[in-house]
C-alpha cells in the first residue's frame, strides 16, 4: 500500500463503510464514536476484540467506567486537543486493550472519535498518517449528523421550555408531542437547575453537553440552557441500584464538570419528584426556590440541594410576601438593633449566632471568639433589652424567623 494513494479520498455511503475501510487499512478493529462517546459505527469481520469494545458495541455507547478511566489518565484531554493520532496503553481494570485514537474535527469542534484496537501493535507510522485522512472522511458524515441533531435538539429545547413555562399543559398532548419528537419521558422526574457564575458561553455549553451525554446513572431526559442556568429534567436510571445512587450520581455529575472542565456551578437546586408532566413547571419553580434560598442563606443551606430538604425555609418566600403586605416591627429586635447602633455593640448578631448554634453556649462562644461568660452576659443583656425569654421556644422561634426574614434583600 503506497503512501501516495489515499484510500479515503472517495465517496463513502456510510460511516460503517469508513470503519470497514480503516479496518482494512490498519488490519485492526475500528469504532467510530460521536463527541459524547455514543457508538456511530464499527468495523465488522474483526478477529480479535477486547471487553471494552464488546461492551461499547452492545450498549451502543462506551461504558462510563471506560470513559472515566480515559479521563483520569488524561487521554481524552490529549485526543481532544491534538490533531495527531494518540496511542493509548491498555487499561486492564476496565477491559481496555492498547488503542490508537484520533479526534474527528470540524475546525475547532470535536465531532467524534475514531478508535483502533491495536493489541498487537501492528500499526506503523504510515497507517497513522492515513488515520488523519480517515478522520477527514468521517468529518463530512458527522457534520451531516450534527446538523440533524442540532435540529432535533432545537425541537427538544422548545418542547422542554414550553413545559417549564406553562402552568397546565395537557397531559396527553404532552405525551404525544414527546413521542413525535422521539423523546421517551421518564415515569418519575425532577427538574434540576444548575446556576453558573456567568452566562454559559459556547465552550462551556459544549462541555455541559458532553457531560450530560456521557452521564449514565442519571437519565437526563431533557435539558435547556438559559443565560447562566442549565435546566434539566432528571430521573434515576433503571434498576434499584440507580434509584438508590441517584443523589450521589447528581453530585458526581457536578464533580465531573469540575474535574474535566473546571466548570463549577455556583448554585444547585432540585424540585420535587413528580409523575405527571403537568408538574414540570412546578418542579422547576421549586428548583428555583432552592437556588434563591441558597443564595440568601448560603451557610445555613450549604449541602442542601433539593426542595424537600429545605425544611421550614420553604415557607420563607411566602412569609416575606406576607410581611411586606403587612409590615409589623418586631419590638424586641428593634430595641436590640437600636441598642447596637447607639452603643455600637453586637447584641442582635450575638443572638443570631446563639440561635444558629441551637442555643449552645459553648459552640456559639467559639463562633464569636469570646469567653463563654461573655456570651452569657450578652445573652442576659439580650433578654433584658429585648424583653425576650431565651428559655421559651416560641419566643426563640419568633426571633429566629425574624432574623431569617431580615436577611432577605
Amino acid at each position: 500500500m503506497s503512501v501516495d494513494h489515499n484510500p479515503f479520498d472517495r465517496h463513502f455511503d456510510s460511516l460503517e463503510s469508513i470503519a470497514d475501510t480503516i479496518s482494512e487499512v490498519v488490519q485492526c478493529p475500528v469504532t467510530i464514536e460521536d463527541a459524547s462517546h455514543k457508538l456511530l459505527a464499527y468495523s465488522s469481520h474483526d478477529p480479535e476484540t477486547d471487553p471494552a469494545r464488546i461492551a461499547t458495541i452492545i450498549g451502543r455507547r462506551v461504558p462510563e467506567n471506560v470513559i472515566s478511566a480515559l479521563w483520569k489518565e488524561g487521554i481524552i484531554q490529549q485526543i481532544m486537543t491534538s490533531h495527531e493520532p494518540i496511542r493509548i496503553s491498555q487499561i486492564s481494570e476496565v477491559g481496555l486493550g492498547d488503542r490508537i485514537a484520533i479526534a474527528i474535527r470540524n475546525n475547532q469542534d470535536v465531532l467524534g472519535y475514531i478508535y483502533i484496537l491495536d493489541n498487537n501493535q501492528r500499526t506503523n507510522e504510515t497507517s497513522l498518517q492515513l488515520l488523519q485522512q480517515a478522520a477527514q472522511a468521517a468529518r463530512t458524515k458527522l457534520v451531516q449528523l450534527q446538523t440533524q441533531n442540532r435540529k432535533q435538539e432545537q425541537h427538544h429545547h422548545d418542547f422542554f421550555w414550553h413545559l417549564l413555562t406553562h402552568k397546565n399543559p395537557s397531559e396527553p398532548e404532552t405525551k404525544e408531542r414527546a413521542s413525535q419528537l422521539g423523546i421517551s419521558l421518564p415515569p418519575r422526574y425532577q427538574v434540576i437547575v444548575l446556576e453558573f457564575e456567568t452566562d454559559i458561553n459556547e465552550k462551556l455549553n459544549q462541555q455541559i453537553q458532553y457531560t450530560i451525554r456521557t452521564v449514565q446513572q442519571i437519565r437526563i431526559a431533557l435539558h435547556v440552557i438559559h443565560n447562566n442556568r442549565l435546566i434539566m429534567m432528571c430521573a434515576p436510571g433503571v434498576g434499584k441500584h440507580a434509584e438508590l445512587q441517584y443523589k450521589d450520581e447528581c453530585s458526581k455529575f457536578i464533580t465531573q464538570l469540575k474535574l474535566r472542565f473546571g466548570a463549577v456551578p455556583v448554585r444547585r437546586g432540585g424540585g420535587l419528584f413528580y409523575e405527571q408532566y403537568v408538574f414540570v413547571e412546578k418542579s422547576y419553580q421549586e428548583a428555583l426556590v432552592v437556588i434563591q434560598m441558597g443564595n440568601t442563606y448560603p451557610e445555613a443551606l450549604s449541602g442542601i440541594y433539593d426542595y424537600n430538604e429545605l425544611g421550614y425555609y420553604r415557607y420563607l418566600p411566602t412569609l416575606v410576601v406576607d410581611r411586606e403586605r403587612k409590615p409589623i416591627i418586631n419590638e424586641s429586635l428593634h430595641r436590640l438593633r437600636q441598642y447596637d447602633e447607639e452603643h455600637n455593640s453586637d447584641l442582635s448578631y450575638t443572638l443570631e449566632i446563639f440561635l444558629n448554634q441551637d442555643s449552645n453556649v459553648k459552640k456559639a462562644a467559639e463562633v464569636l471568639h469570646v469567653h463563654t461568660n461573655t456570651l452569657m452576659y450578652r445573652l442576659k443583656r439580650v433578654m433584658e433589652i429585648g424583653d425576650i425569654d431565651l428559655n421559651n421556644m416560641d419566643q426563640k422561634v419568633t426571633m429566629y424567623l425574624e432574623l431569617k426574614l431580615n436577611k432577605w434583600k
Copy 2:
C-alpha cells in the same frame, strides 16, 4: 304630709323637677342616674352633700371607685333585684355617706337609680314608701330617654359595623359621619373582640352594656354585639396614667364582667393600634386571628391577647394556606407517626413536648412524667427513626412548625 296624698301623681317637665320634688319630700339631696350610673338629674338647694356626690355631679357620672365599692359590698346587686328602697351604710373610703337607693324599673329592666343622701338618717318609712312612687314617675322619663338612646345606639352599631366590614372606607367621610352621629373618635384605637361560650342573649347583652358604660379608664368608642362576640373599638383614656394602665384596664374589664355577672368570655383578641379609620377592618381581622389562634393553641397562647404579641403564630394562617396549596409530607414526622402507630408509642408527642419545653430535658421529662433517661432514650429514638438532628436549630424549627401546623383543623 299625709300618706294619702301622692306628690308624684302629676306631670313632671323634667327629671330635674322630679329630683327636686323628692328632695323636698325627704329633705335630703337626691341624684337620679341611668342604668350605667351616668348622672341624669340632681336636686339643687341641698345644704349638705358628700365627696362622692360632688364627684358624681362634677364628672356627670358616678366615679368608678364608688361603683366598684358598691358592687363589692353587694349593694348594687341588691338594688337591682329588689323593688324596695335599699339602705346603704356609709363607705368612707370612697367618700360615700349613708344613702337610700331604689331602682327605676320598667317591668324587669332596670332603667336607672334614685339615690338619696341620708347622712342624718332623717328618712322614715313613709318617705321610703313615697320613693317607690317617685321611681314610678321617673320611669316614664327614662323610658323616653331609652328609646332615644336605642335609636342612637342603632346608628352607632350600623356605623361601626360598616367600618368593621368595609376594607377601604373614605377617611374624611368616616369622620364626618362620626361627627354627625355625635361620636368622638379616638386618635388611636384598636379593635378588641371578646368571644363568649354561647350567643349573647338579652340578659348578657345588658350586663355587657352596663360594664361598657361603667368602665372609665378605657374608652370604648364603639361596640357591636354579633352572635357570641362583643366587638369594641377601644382606646386608652386621656393622660399618661391611662395610657400605661390600658392593658391592665382591659383585663379589669373582663374581671368585672366575671365578678359582677359571672359572664366570662371564652376567648379574647385585640388587633393592632391604628390612627386612621381605614384600618378598623384590619384591626378587627387581626383580633379575629388572635381568637382563632387562641382556639387552636390554647395552652401555648394562654395569656396572649394582642396581635402584636402573637410572635410567629401570626404567620401560621398564611402557612396553612400555603401548605394546603402545596402539600408536602414531612418525611421525618411521617416516619415518627408511623412508628407510633405500629408500636403504639408516643415519639411524636414526646418530641412535641420536648420542643415545647425549649429542648430542656428535665422540664420535658417532668411534663411527661418519665425519668430523664427515659426521655433521653426516646429522643435518641426520635433522632434515629425520624432522621432528625435535635442539635440543629433549623431542623428543630422545621419540626416545631410542622407540629404546630398539624394542630390545625
